[in-house]
Amino acid sequence: MTEIKQVRLSGFGGQGVVLAGLLLGQAGVFDGKYISGSNSYGAQARGSGCKSEIVFSDGPVDFPHLTIADILIAMSRGAYDNYCTDVRTESGLILYDQGFVTPKDNLKVKHLGIPANEVSVKRLKNKQVSNIVFLGALIEATRIVSAGAIRKAISMHVSERFRSLNLKALQAGMELGREFNG
């Protein structure tokens, strides 16, 4: 039986949702997975919502879009409100930005709140890297891709100017994720 994991990254335009999705999918390819990734932005999510969805599989993927999220990353309140009910109950996981989102307590889904925006603004001095902080927390908490693969993906797709900042953000995110794991 082919194992499939479906990840939805969501937020609003400008938060780097699409880049994070690209890096995650690319890392999956480096790890030898079959990946199907798709993005959407525009009117469908309220606000100027934006999402990137990645299907990870051990074998060829039949339907390449997400059917239900095993993991939801919600970088904004709107994203959380829109998608929190589309996460698989019991085994699912929601990672959210605790600075923006107040989680609902009636969902039977594991929640992990991280201060991604705060860390990126205060510690990393750049509000554009909370997407990478999220990726760090995600891989540490779920091992969905290896840290080596995501680093390789960053060096492939992020321009040299921002590479070390992004790697720092990844590290910071991994520390946040580790707290959750431990």
Binding site: G25, Y34, I35, S38, H65, T67
Partner: protein
């Protein structure tokens, strides 16, 4: 040998390309060295990537003033000896039709990738559709043939663009890759083989470029500047390109040949794939992105005990009459899910006597598994 094996321009391995990027890579692998295009959503990433790649491999890229100019420059470059292509979406594809007819009538190899969006008209520029299937076949005036392929994955954007070039060169015909927005923007794991099979148009010094006795009906094609003093015209012409606009025999013979040279080779042009059809009572006939949904639905319903299978059309034109007819004889019902109002369903009905149900969705979204499974449970 009419074809040769060449080393892939990309090292063997796995990559993470969007469909549009993969199509650009497939073109480069096929030997494409000329691209003329005009920006249009949702195909533009193809042009952006091939602009970079052609520079790397010593080819020519130009952004033209519109889509008519793009396909026309593509045809001009093809006669200058290039493997040439353009890409577009619905509105641009409409503008290209007259020149596509020119390419068919002058037997000019060229490739057009149409990343279909939700039409008609400007429609929903960023949303998916597959409403250009009939236009691909019938969009230009008069009777002619084209080859049109339908990719369902990023991998096939690579594979089928490459194949489109090969078929186009082999048969001297415009070949189209009828992609859709969902496949064009889908980013997937792609495997690049170490070597690819590449076809080149055949050449024969002094050979008549517009007629041939026997053989495969495909005359040799020289390039401008090779000393052949070619005469190429979109008017009715004889074997050497002289206009014969009053001669009924020449016209009938030419129109007949440019159609027959494709139809006579249907067997080697058409590719279909069977999925769980052996004992199926219901068959889905699907293509493009919708075939992904269909395969998912078939596997789900099989688990629930339904005898259902799928025939996937990798080639849309020429149409798979024979295979569709065979499937029609074996099953009780056929359903054709597609993102238009039944363009392929109509073709299927023409080929079979069993029930054909058209499942259409034209709301700018892909047909999802739920809709398809629910509909299939009801029939």
């Amino acid at each position: 040998m009419p074809f040769r094996w060449v080393k892939s321009p990309f090292p063997k391995g796995t990559y993470y390309f969007s469909g549009n990027e993969a199509a650009a890579e497939g073109a480069i692998a096929a030997g494409c060295r000329f691209y003329a295009g005009y920006p249009i959503t949702p195909s533009s990433e193809l042009m952006e990537r091939i602009a970079v790649r052609l520079k790397e491999v010593g080819g020519v890229f130009i952004q033209m003033e519109d889509e008519i100019a793009s396909i026309s420059a593509t045809i001009g470059a093809s006669w200058a000896g290039a493997k040439a292509m353009t890409a577009t979406s619905g509105p641009g594809f409409s503008l290209m039709q007259e020149s596509i007819g020119y390419a068919a009538f002058t037997e000019t190899p060229c490739v057009i990738v149409d990343v279909q969006r939700a039409g008609p008209c400007t429609g929903q520029a960023t949303k998916v559709g597959s409403g250009d299937i009939m236009q691909a076949k019938w969009g230009s005036h008069g009777d002619y043939q084209v080859i049109a392929l339908s990719p369902w994955s990023s991998q096939e954007m690579y594979d089928l663009t490459l194949r489109a070039f090969n078929l186009s060169e082999q048969y001297r015909v415009p070949a189209m890759v009828m992609a859709d927005e969902a496949v064009g923007h889908l980013r997937e794991t792609i495997r690049v083989a170490p070597r690819v099979e590449v076809w080149d148009r055949k050449k024969k010094k002094g050979g008549a470029p517009f007629d041939i006795e026997g053989e495969d009906g495909v005359p040799p094609m020289a390039a401008f500047g090779e000393g052949e003093r070619l005469s190429v015209t979109g008017s009715t012409h004889d074997a050497y390109g002289f206009r014969k606009t009053d001669d009924p025999e020449v016209h009938a013979r030419l129109v007949g040949r440019i159609n027959q040279k494709i139809l006579n080779h249907k067997r080697s042009i058409i590719e279909t794939e069977d999925y769980l059809l052996e004992d199926a009572e219901v068959a889905l006939i699907a293509y493009g992105f919708t075939a992904r949904t269909s395969l998912y639905a078939v596997k789900r319903l099989r688990k629930e005990g339904q005898k259902i299978g799928m025939l996937r059309l990798k080639t849309l034109w020429p149409f798979s009459d024979e295979r569709v007819a065979e499937v029609g004889k074996k099953v009780k019902r056929i359903m054709v899910p597609e993102m238009n109002l039944g363009q392929v369903a109509g073709e299927v009905k023409r080929c079979v006597v069993c029930d054909v149900i058209s499942l259409s969705q034209t709301n700018g979204e892909v047909i999802g598994p739920e809709l398809l499974i629910e509909t299939l449970k009801k029939i």
